[in-house]
Symmetry: C2
Subunit: 177 residues, 2 copies
Amino acid sequence: MELFEAIERRHSYRGAYHDSPVPESDIRRIAQAGIQAPSGYNSQDTTFVIVDDRDLIAKIAAILGNTPVFRTAPLLIACIVEKEPQAPEGRMVFPIENCAAAVENMLLAATALGYASLWYDGSLRREGRNQAIGQLLGLQEGLVVQVLLPVGVPLESKAQAAKKSFSQRAWYNRHGT
Amino acid sequence: MELFEAIERRHSYRGAYHDSPVPESDIRRIAQAGIQAPSGYNSQDTTFVIVDDRDLIAKIAAILGNTPVFRTAPLLIACIVEKEPQAPEGRMVFPIENCAAAVENMLLAATALGYASLWYDGSLRREGRNQAIGQLLGLQEGLVVQVLLPVGVPLESKAQAAKKSFSQRAWYNRHGT
């Protein structure tokens, strides 16, 4: 799919999925899009757990309240970052930025391949959900599930949420003018 | 350009640019890609200053040490966020994530249109640079330049930094196995 079409079609999907699995070749292309995202100092500090085990997905969905999008997802991609990364001498670390760039690449890749997904993020940090999911995924101490992406063929056709116009969010040479 | 090609071609460009300006139609397409990025609760809290005034670019480049990429850039896009956003009752805010998603979309858009760019981020927070640039861009109190993107036709042909392999960053159903 052409880039600008993927950007326009990407949307947050919360509905149910078709029962069909995501083929291995598509999983690899989506994950590869995440791997190729930029990261500060090319640190590549986001890692990924691809969850295609139905029992494991069911356990994760139960932690997340069995909402349709997780209960029916044939695939989850968990994005893992360090909780408290230490910056090397004279450098900074960008765990949130790097993870977000990888997520956006993967959302676009999923869209281009005909899937729908959801950037599930802040709600992971409620009620210890990311700890419970982290345990299921065998995360080592110090790592955390930062973002979770369900991926599948959507049962419902949805569009991107309405966005403000260019003139409401962008200006030339001076902010807000 | 096809999405996966744009993801593969995107790279961090630090060289000099051709003197040619970026046409208005391309500026709009790049900014629109940023506008269409996801944001938590669709808050759309990242805003943009498009800097195409040569004098203003020269002043910003001087703050940033007159490195080739800023000294020769025909266009800058400054991504603006709130320094300390307040979450509405029962919600969270995601200024860094939202900005990063917009940046990644714009980097891909710039790539697809034949430009090269750079995610200039942490270095803005050294030596009060973002404050000085924020003043030049007329930012209101409480706003900050979070990311700055130079955009132009690159003089040098560069490739994406080498990335670790799939097996070094992604696993099935259990982290690190």
